[in-house]
């Protein structure tokens, strides 16, 4: 399979000189099993350019099929969908998978795409669209690819996905806070909680189960893509925002025994030079510890070939 990054940024797109090497588009990753339809993870603004590339293939004459796995419906993971060119061509078939919400998924996406926010309503799109609500732990097949998922620690919950195909596996874990300090759910947390107090036993147990499930999902993966929006120091200031840091990603990668760890969902304010420095620092950590995996940092245009295709 091929894995290509189209958007690597968290929170909000950040155009500009200081972000142009890693890229300013929000989250979007394309997974392409050999000779098969694309499986797209998240629909941030990176989806716009992916859509243009797909229009050069069978999507341009209305014969394309794609599946989009949505980690969660926060803006930076869905805001590219109205600008996905294949949706505007009759004959294309697009399946969207996301965790179930209180309302039907189609209603959630209709709210994004329609008056008074966007000129073209979902109902006016020419492609055939279908919406599939998931719950954590579910698994299903897309062609030869097996999809599995588990829950992450993020406000209003997000899903991690694992895709196994062509003798390789990729795991996408974004967005999530570490599983150590705070269980994030529906409640709006106003201020950063003190991190030196012990957690109630039930919360600690719940977080422990979530972490074990994430480690299990990522076990032996060829590539683990992980939310590292924060540095450790930044995380201490904002543990309630639902994002992690490289030290936590490294610990998960070690426990899961992955072959490559890719830092992802860079903070809007993170400059290219700062991203370079973070990668260099953690490559040093990995080398010093003798960890048996490769450390990468996602940038727009990064393409990895895994498994039978490699």
């Amino acid at each position: 399979m091929r894995v290509r990054f189209w958007g690597v940024r968290g929170s909000i797109p950040v155009p500009g000189r200081t972000t142009s090497r890693y890229g300013g588009n929000t989250s979007c990753v394309e997974v392409r099993p050999r000779g098969a339809a694309p499986i797209i993870i998240d629909a941030g603004t990176g989806l716009r350019r992916l859509g243009k590339a797909l229009m050069e293939e069978s999507f341009g004459d209305g014969r394309g099929e794609a599946s989009i796995l949505i980690s969660h419906t926060h803006w930076d993971h869905v805001q590219g969908l109205p600008f996905f060119s294949p949706l505007y061509r009759a004959g294309n078939r697009i399946q969207i998978f996301a965790r179930q919400r209180d309302t039907h998924l189609e209603a959630v996406f209709s709210q994004q795409q329609g008056a008074p926010y966007f000129p073209v309503p979902l109902s006016a799109l020419q492609a055939e669209m279908s919406f599939h609500a998931l719950t954590e732990g579910t698994h299903f097949d897309l062609g030869r690819a097996r999809i599995t998922s588990t829950r992450l620690n993020h406000p209003w919950t997000a899903l991690a996905y694992r895709i196994d195909v062509d003798g390789a596996s990729v795991v996408y874990c974004s967005d999530t806070a570490p599983f150590t300090d705070l269980l994030l759910g529906r409640e709006f947390v106003v201020d950063a909680p003190a991190l030196d107090r012990p957690l109630p036993p039930d919360v600690a147990a719940e977080l422990g189960r979530m972490r074990a499930a994430v480690v299990g999902l990522a076990a032996g993966a060829d590539l683990l893509i992980y939310d590292t929006q924060f540095t450790y120091e930044e995380y201490l200031q904002r543990p309630h925002w639902g994002h992690s840091h490289p030290d936590d990603a490294l610990a998960i990668a070690r426990d899961a025994g992955v072959r490559r760890l890719c830092l992802f969902h860079h903070a809007p304010a993170r400059s290219d030079d700062a991203n370079d420095a973070i990668l260099a620092r953690y490559r040093g950590v990995v080398a010093a510890a003798g960890d048996p995996f490769e450390m990468l940092s996602a940038y727009e245009g990064l393409e990895l070939v895994l498994g039978d295709d490699a």
């Binding site: 797109p13 500009g16 890229g23 716009r48 106003v190």
Partner: protein
């Protein structure tokens, strides 16, 4: 008045090496009046860098006030709001004026952006600053700290958007983004009257005419429409704005050069052409 451009792009932010010179952020312009008043027009992603800049002044200490004018509520004009640092500082106060017909309707629309399915903020009520939302009365001028602000509704695809005219001590800045051109009949006389004699006319110039021809229903102007409006209105300066997300910097260079020729051909050789670029400042 000091006008500064923070986001000049249309429809969706367009990051990338080929949009660095003009900028890829969506619509946001600030106006610092001689009176000290701050007016912000539209809340695209350009609002993020504007907010960061404002935090160095009174807004960082919770002592800032600003008027926000909203042309309409399509994403590219509101999507920066959740990332505007000054709204998270208690003591700051913002008054939003925009479309919607009623203040409750407009507030509901902005509230919908913060819906927990989409935003971790969950509701506007989680802002620390005061954030009052009002529907603009198109017939009645608004007077804020020595500024007079009038609005005009123009067609924008299937909906409408507001243009604003800000006047201080006899000098005027007009902001007219997302201006639909339903036909090819030249500038609307009522629009020309609203723009008349502006010291600076910022006008939608999303497209080159050949690209507009296949997308007229989207409700945007070409540089030809912008040039025609500036000449008819006798504007002193024309600012091109809201460039298509697919235009590279080189494409925008070409659009601006073509706009210059269009002004000259229409008898507007005396009109100064100022292409909007992120970060640039224009004084009136």
């Amino acid at each position: 008045m000091k006008i500064q451009f923070w986001g000049v792009r249309g429809s969706i932010p367009a990051p990338g090496p080929d949009t660095i010179r003009y900028g890829g952020n969506t619509s946001c312009v600030s106006v610092h009046a001689a009176s000290g008043a701050l007016v912000i027009i539209d809340m695209g992603t350009g609002l993020l860098p504007l907010g960061n800049a404002l935090m160095a002044g009174p807004f960082g200490a919770g002592a800032g006030t600003a008027t926000i004018l909203l042309s309409h509520t399509h994403w590219d004009h509101i999507q920066g709001l959740g990332f505007f640092s000054p709204v998270f500082v208690a003591g700051n106060a913002f008054t939003v004026w925009g479309p919607g017909g009623s203040s409750d309707v407009l507030e509901d629309i902005l509230e919908g952006q913060m819906d927990p399915n989409f935003s971790p903020l969950q509701t506007l009520k989680n802002f620390s600053a005061r954030f009052d939302v009002h529907a603009m009365d198109v017939g009645a001028p608004l007077v804020v700290d020595g500024l007079t602000i009038t609005a005009r509704e123009h067609p924008h695809g299937a909906t409408t958007a507001l243009a604003f005219r800000i006047t201080e001590a006899g000098r005027s800045f007009v902001y007219a983004s997302d201006v639909g051109q339903p036909g090819d009949t030249g500038p609307d006389p009522d629009a020309v009257a609203f723009f008349a004699g502006a010291d600076v006319l910022l006008h939608d110039a999303t497209y080159r005419p050949q690209d507009q021809a296949t997308r007229r229903n989207r409700g945007f102007s070409s540089y030809e429409d912008a040039a025609a409006a500036a000449v008819a209105a006798g504007a002193r300066r024309l600012v091109t704005f809201h460039y298509d997300q697919d235009y590279s910097d080189d494409d925008v260079d070409d659009l601006v050069a073509s706009c210059r020729r269009a002004l000259d051909a229409r008898g507007g050789a005396a009109i100064e052409l100022v292409p909007a670029r992120e970060g640039d400042v224009l004084e009136i």
